[in-house]
Symmetry: C2
Subunit: 432 residues, 2 copies
C-alpha cells in the first residue's frame, strides 16, 4: 500500500542559495517543491505537510495556494536546531504510514514511481548524480540501518532523503527530544530505531545544496527523461546522446511547443533543400531527426508533457517524412516505375508509425511494451532518416533509386511483420 500522506522537511535556512528557500528554486523550469508534490500526487499521495521556518513560511504558503496543492504548512520556530525536531512537530498531524522527504532533494519520475512502494529508508548503492563525499552513507545490517553518517568508513549505500515510515517513529523521537532538548538530526532517529532499508539503485535523484548543483541536476532530469520505447538503433546510439545535451542546454529557456515548431520547420526546410542540394538536405534531415527528441525530453524534464503535444508531434513527423520523400522523388527520379517505388516507400514509411499507433488505439497499450521484439526490427524513423542521409552524401540516380528500393522493402516488410506479431501475440491465452 502506498501511503496517503507525505511530510516534506524544508525548515533549513539553506544559506548557500542566496537566502531563497531551496524548495522554491527552479530546476528545469519547475520549483523543487512543485516537482516533489506533483510526482508524489501522480503516484497516489493525497496530502502534504510542509515543515518550514518562520521566514520562508509566507513564501511557501503563497506558492502552495497558487498551485492549489493539498498541502499544509507547519512552522518550526527553531530551524537552527537539527532537522529531527521538524519531524517531531509533524507527529500530531500524521497517523499510519507516511512518506518523509527532504525539501531540497530533486527526484526523477522513475525514482518516485519505484520508491513509493518501498519501506523504510530508500538507499542507493549506485548513486549517479550526487557528490559522493558530501552524501550521507548507510551501513546496513539484516536489512536495517546500522549506521548513518557522512563520515562512515564502511558503508553499503547512500541515503536518498526519501523514507517510508509509520507513526511508531514518533515514539523514538520523543525520547530524543527530551534527552537533547530538541537539537538532533533525523539521521540519529533513523539510526536509533534501526529503520528498514529498501535499495533503489542508479535512479535519478540528487540534493541541492549550492547553485552549482542545479546545473548537474538539470542534466540528470533530461537524461532520465528519455522515453526510449520506440527508439531505434540510431536513436539509442547517436541521436539521444546529442539531443539530451541540447535539451540540457535549452531546458530552462525553451518550451516543448517551441521546439516542436522549430523541429518541424527544420524538417520542412530539409525537404525543400533537396531541390538545391540533396547532400545538405540529408544532413539537415538527420539534424531535424536528432532535434525531434528534444521537445519530448524537455517536456518530460519540465513535467510539461501533454497528449496534444505528442499528438501534434506525431502528425508533423509524418508530414516531414512525406514531404522529404516526395520532393526527393520529384527532383531525382524520372521513370514512372521508380515513382511507383517511391510512392510505396512513402506508404511504408507512414505505415510503420500507423501500425504501432493503431495498436495503441485498439489495445490501449504501447506496442513496443507488448511486443518487445518490435524494438529490434529495423525500419523505425531514426534509422530511415540516417539511411537517407548516407545515401544522399554522393547523390546519383542509382544511389537514390537504391534508397527508395530499400525503404520500400524495409518499411513494408516491417508492417507485415508487425501485423503478424500482433496477431500472434493476441491469439495467445493471456489477452493484452
Amino acid at each position: 500500500m502506498i501511503p496517503e500522506t507525505a511530510v516534506i522537511l524544508a525548515a533549513d535556512l539553506g544559506t548557500k542559495m542566496g537566502g531563497k528557500p531551496v524548495g522554491l528554486v527552479k530546476v528545469a523550469g519547475r520549483e523543487i517543491l512543485y516537482r516533489t508534490i506533483t510526482l508524489l500526487r501522480k503516484n497516489g499521495i493525497k496530502q502534504f505537510l510542509l515543515i518550514t521556518n518562520e521566514r520562508y513560511a509566507p513564501l511557501y504558503r503563497e506558492f502552495i495556494e497558487r498551485h492549489d496543492f493539498p498541502a499544509e504548512v507547519l512552522i518550526n520556530s527553531e530551524p537552527e536546531k537539527g532537522n529531527g525536531h521538524s519531524l517531531f512537530l509533524a507527529g500530531d498531524h500524521v497517523s499510519g504510514r507516511f512518506i518523509l522527504v527532504m525539501g531540497n532533494h530533486v527526484y526523477s519520475e522513475a525514482f518516485v514511481e519505484r520508491t513509493v512502494k518501498g519501506e523504510g529508508l530508500i538507499a542507493d548503492r549506485r548513486p549517479r548524480w550526487i557528490e559522493i563525499e558530501k552524501a550521507t552513507k548507510v551501513k546496513v545490517k539484516d536489512g536495517r540501518v546500522e549506521h548513518l553518517g557522512k563520515e562512515l568508513k564502511e558503508w553499503d549505500a547512500v541515503d536518498t532523503g526519501f523514507l517510508i515510515l509509520d507513526e511508531r517513529i514518533f515514539e523514538a523521537i520523543k525520547d530524543l527530544e527530551r534527552e537533547r532538548n530538541g537539537d538532533y538530526n533525523l539521521s540519529e532517529v533513523v539510526e536509533r530505531v534501526k529503520v528498514p532499508v529498501t535499495f533503489a539503485d542508479g535512479l535519478g535523484w540528487a540534493d541541492v545544496d549550492t547553485p552549482r548543483d542545479v546545473e548537474r541536476i538539470r542534466r540528470m532530469l533530461v537524461k532520465t527523461a528519455v522515453k526510449g520505447t520506440g527508439d531505434g538503433f540510431i536513436s539509442r546510439h547517436l541521436n539521444r546522446k546529442i539531443s539530451t545535451e541540447i535539451s540540457a542546454l535549452l531546458v530552462e529557456r525553451v518550451t516543448p511547443n517551441v521546439m516542436t515548431a522549430v523541429t518541424f520547420a527544420l524538417g520542412i526546410a530539409s525537404a525543400l533543400l533537396t531541390l538545391v542540394s540533396p547532400p545538405l538536405a540529408g544532413v539537415l534531415y538527420q539534424l531535424s531527426s536528432v532535434l525531434d527528441g528534444v521537445d519530448g525530453e524537455i517536456a518530460r524534464a519540465q513535467l510539461r508533457t501533454s497528449r496534444l503535444g505528442g499528438y501534434t508531434d506525431s502528425i508533423l513527423d509524418r508530414y516531414v517524412d512525406g514531404s522529404f520523400l516526395a520532393l526527393l522523388a520529384y527532383v531525382a527520379l524520372n521513370e514512372p516505375v521508380w515513382y511507383l517505388i517511391a510512392i510505396l516507400a512513402l506508404l511504408g514509411s507512414i505505415m510503420v508509425s500507423y501500425s504501432t499507433e493503431r495498436f495503441k488505439a485498439a489495445y490501449g497499450g504501447d506496442a513496443y511494451n507488448h511486443i518487445p521484439v518490435l524494438r529490434k526490427l529495423p525500419g523505425k524513423r531514426d534509422e530511415r532518416v540516417f539511411l537517407t542521409m548516407l545515401f544522399l552524401f554522393c547523390p546519383s540516380g542509382a544511389s537514390i533509386k537504391a534508397l527508395f528500393a530499400i525503404l520500400t522493402l524495409l518499411t513494408n516488410l516491417r508492417v507485415v511483420l508487425t501485423l503478424y506479431l500482433v496477431a500472434k501475440k493476441v491469439s495467445q491465452p493471456k489477452t493484452i
Copy 2:
C-alpha cells in the same frame, strides 16, 4: 442500479420450430440464448436462471456448460400451463431486483444497453422488426400497465418481453397460483400488479415464433449493427444501404475474417486493374469500399467483434488505398510535378485516418465522438473512393490530374483542420 440476476423463461414447447428449443435456434450465427446471456453479461448482469421444461433441460444444460455461462437451470414440469407459473418457480431463487426476459426474444446490443437501466416493463411505441398483429400490446396509465393483451383495441406500445422487476412481484403471483391452480400467463401478473412502464422506442428486438421470423431478425441484427461513427456521406447514403443487404445474405455463411480477406483481395485487384482499365478499376474500387463495411457488420451481428479484426482491417485499407493511388499515378502520369502531387495525395489520404487513430491512441476516445464536426468534414475514405470512381469513368490525363489535385487538397486540408479542432477541443476547460 442494474440488477445482478436475470431470469429467462424458456419452458414453452415452441411447436412451430420443429421440436427444437427456441433458445438454441441460431440467428446470425449465434443461439438466441447465447445472445441474451452475452449481451446481459456485457451490461453487468452476473447470474442467470433459466426456466425450461423437462424435455429441453438436458439440451440447455449442455449448452450452458459448453459456454461456461454462470446460469442455473430450473425445471417447470407443467410447461403446458401458462408461463406465469414459470416465474412463480423462480421465486425461491431470486431476491431483490432482477431482469425477466423471454427466452424466444432476440435483442440488439443497443436495446440491452439501454433497457437494463429501465424499470418495470420495457415497451416500444415504434416497434420496427415485429409483426404487429401477433404482438402483445400495452395500454399505459399514469406510467403503469393498465391493460396487456394481443387483442387490445386501444394501446400505447408493444411489450418487448423484457422486464426489470423486484421480488414483490412474487406476492402477486402467489395469489394467482392459488386462484388458478398454476395456469395463468405472465401478462396477467403484470396487469394485476400494474407494473411500471419504461418506453424504449424503435430499437432492435423481436420474438422468434416460426422459422420465417429468423430471416427478418437476421436483417434486424445486421441493420442495427452498423457502427456509423466515422461514416462519410457516401457511406451513410449509399454504401451502408448495400453492405447491410449483403451482410444479411452472408451473415449465416461467412466469418468476418473471410470477408476482410475477400475485401482486401478485391481492393488490391482493383489497384492492379488500373493498369488495364481505369474505369473498371474505379468501379471495383468502389465495390471493395462497399464490401469494406461487411466484415464489421457481420462481426457485430454475430457478436464476434475483435480488436485484432479492427486493427487488421484498418491497416489493409491503407494498403489498398496506397496501392490504388500508386498504380494509378504510375499508369496515368508522366510529369515529375504530377507525381509529386500524387505522392502528396497519398500522404494526405493515409494521414486522414492516421490523425483520427492517433487521437484514439493519445486520448483513448473516438475522435468523431469528441469532435462531432469531424463527421461532417469531407475527405473520408468512402468519399475519396467514390470520387475516384467518378473521375475514372472517362479517364484522361486531365481528369486524373484533377483527381490527384483534389485529393491532395481535400485530404491534407482535412488533416490540418483536424489538428486545429483537436487543439481547440483539448484546450477547453473540460478535458477529454
